[in-house]
């Protein structure tokens, strides 16, 4: 059977599965819609969290980012940053937010700091961060459809929108959670099967996590011969300070992103929330420990197959990917041979995004594995998109509509608004996927810094420091956010003013760590200079510290 036919079968089968789950898990309460009725067992909740978390970027781009943009070692910023954040989530946030027992992150900020204004600002931030993030997912769906199913990118996005809208409006968080469990299963198999096949071919050892060290060692030699820095040497592309700060911004940003935090509200109990954190990192770790292996294998195979090879002798896949513009060969010295070297003389340019998709072709794996990888990429994009759309919808229906516009709304009425908000959010997300504004890619990278500098300190201090009050927290959040946004706008390539990084040469990707530190210090100091929170509020903080009595979330607040 042709590659196209196989891919179509895999995609149709998995999409059918997702819709089937949606029909089976319909809900008709706000608790079911926002937090899946808090009835998800920890292991499945962890799996859903992992699918929610691992986006098209984790699945398709991360291995390429490690291997190419970061030349090996420095790619650790993503690996450490996007896993280490779960330690913070599990230890500092998850159990306490579950005990708090409401529906959204802005709700915690609003209740803890007794401020509707803070809740509104938090809701707007949550909507903004989620939209920038979701645009990339929809774009990923469109690209996968156009490259592998020969469907126009616009129709690819429309199909993706229709699928997500169906199961998100029918099942809300419950439908999304069970679909994400299925999507995790598809994406992890799709990620690991090719890695095992390649590990066995290259080293004889089928475990990618054991085999890749050997390959990385060989890559050091090959890259040094070509004039690149060694693959396993740190700080080839970033200073030590920037590796440190970017890792920290990604970790604390992970722990401050609303679509991740909201997953812990769906656990059955405080104990369940803790175990959700554990299982989430186990399932995420399975992909994240495989990613550096795929990075090393793909780069090794790629250099061995095309470096110093005559252009007329390149394999089939090379020509296919040239057609997409994601791989380009410019014969600068007109010798008809591909020179892959550092600097201006380099003749081969490879897009980060094709490493995972092209990897099975480069390694000559059978067509069904390529079809599986496409289905996996789509699962990663759709699962993340649905989690983000729910955050947007719940911020609109629960934090804005129910709280500010129509406080007397009945549960059925609020639920209808939530469903309409999902449809509305899907349409906006689709439009952003079809007409991507140039800055989306950059903004996603910076969403972490902004989340680290705003939400993370406000939530952590809100739990661990009873003395933190409204004045302190609101000042800290605003200054942290404004400082970080200002630095990003003035220094980030691709957005705004493009000054040189003016603070110790800190990369705009790492500045969120500095913004976070400023936020922590300001919140702590100003809280102590101003009035103590009310006795009632101190009792509220005391209450979320002890797991006992974590009932179900109340439908009306």
């Amino acid at each position: 059977m042709s590659q196209l036919g196989l891919t179509a079968i895999f995609v149709v089968l998995t999409f059918g599965l997702y819709i089937g789950i949606a029909i089976w898990s319909r809900v008709n309460t706000t608790s079911g819609f926002y937090v899946a009725g808090q009835g998800i067992p920890s292991i499945f909740n962890g799996m859903a969290t992992a699918a929610d978390w691992m986006s098209a970027a984790s699945f398709l781009s991360m291995a390429g980012l490690i291997a190419l943009s970061r030349n090996g070692f420095d790619g650790a910023i993503y690996l450490l940053g996007w896993t280490g954040g779960y330690v913070l989530l599990a230890l500092l946030l998850a159990p306490y937010l579950r005990k708090f027992g409401k529906f959204t992150v802005p709700e915690f900020i609003g209740d803890r700091y007794e401020s509707n204004a803070a809740r509104l600002v938090a809701a707007v931030c949550a909507i903004f961060v989620s939209f920038t993030y979701v645009a990339g997912q929809m774009r990923g769906v469109g690209i996968a459809f156009s490259r592998f199913l020969e469907i126009d990118i616009v129709w690819g996005v429309v199909i993706g929108m229709a699928i997500v809208a169906t199961y998100a409006t029918m099942g809300g968080m419950k439908g999304i959670t069970w679909t994400q469990v299925a999507q995790y299963s598809v994406l992890i198999v799709a990620y690991i099967v090719p890695a095992i096949a390649i590990a066995r071919t290259l080293t004889g050892n089928p475990v990618p996590q054991l085999a890749f060290m050997n390959v990385a060692g060989k890559l050091d030699q090959i890259q040094t011969d070509l004039g690149f820095g060694a693959y396993t040497s740190p700080f080839n592309t970033l200073s030590p300070l920037n590796v440190f700060l970017i890792t920290m911004a990604l970790m604390c940003g992970t722990a401050g992103l609303p679509h991740v935090i909201i997953r812990f509200y769906t656990a059955r109990s405080v104990t369940g929330a803790r175990w959700t954190g554990f299982w989430a990192l186990v399932f995420i770790g399975l992909l994240y420990t495989t990613a550096p292996a795929i990075a090393a294998f793909a780069k090794y195979n790629m250099i061995n197959t095309v470096s110093n090879v005559a252009y007329t002798d390149v394999p089939e896949w090379f020509k296919t990917w040239e057609g997409t513009g994601l791989l380009t060969f410019t014969d600068r010295n007109s010798d008809g041979v591909i020179q892959y070297i550092p600097g201006a003389e380099n003749e081969l340019r490879i897009d980060n995004d094709i490493m995972v998709l092209a990897n099975p072709e480069i390694a000559n794996l059978p067509a069904w594995i390529i079809a599986l990888v496409v289905a996996g990429g789509l699962a990663a994009a759709l699962s993340t998109a649905s989690g983000l759309l729910l955050v947007v919808a719940s911020s609109i229906s629960h934090d804005i509509y129910k709280k500010f516009i129509n406080p007397s709304a009945s549960e059925a009425n609020e639920l209808l608004v939530a469903r309409v908000a999902v449809i509305f959010a899907v349409i906006i997300a689709g439009l952003l996927g079809i007409y991507p504004p140039g800055f989306v890619g950059e903004v996603v990278a910076f969403a972490f810094g902004l989340a680290a500098a705003s939400f993370f300190p406000a939530i952590v201090l809100g739990i661990f420091d009873k003395r933190t009050n409204r004045t302190g927290a609101v000042t800290g959040m605003i200054v942290g956010l404004v400082f970080t946004a200002f630095y990003i706008i003035t220094t980030a390539p691709g957005i705004g003013i493009r000054w040189n990084p003016w603070l110790f040469g800190i990369s705009p990707q790492g500045i969120g760590s500095v913004g976070m530190l400023i936020n922590f210090v300001l919140t702590y100091v100003i809280s102590r200079m101003t009035e103590e929170p009310s006795a009632q509020m101190q009792a509220f903080v005391e209450g979320i510290r002890y797991p006992k009595g974590a009932g179900s979330a109340s439908a009306h607040d």
Binding site: G84, M213, N214, F278, P547
Partner: protein, 84 residues
């Protein structure tokens, strides 16, 4: 439940959390980043050790830290009768 007992529970929770976060920082930042160049002189699984910690080893430690936290906290909840 007496107030003093609850405070003791919270104190033990804080010590456990701080202890685990200390390990998180030492592995994720001090070993994986700051001392990576030195650790790269050691060979592990056929490649440099510092590179392994940064790209694989630290993740295993992170998973282990959360596991220890879950087990210890669940015991603590039982001991102080605050399970929920």
């Amino acid at each position: 439940m007496k107030k003093g007992k609850l405070q003791e529970y919270w104190q033990r929770n804080i010590s456990l959390t701080l202890g685990l976060l200390a390990v998180w920082f030492v592995v994720g930042y001090v070993l994986a980043i700051v001392f990576a160049p030195q650790l790269n002189n050691i060979t592990f699984l056929g490649g440099p050790f510092g590179f392994w910690i940064a790209q694989n080893g630290a993740i295993y430690v992170f998973i282990l830290l959360i596991l220890i936290y879950c087990l210890r906290m669940n015991n603590l909840d039982k001991e102080y009768d605050v399970e929920g």
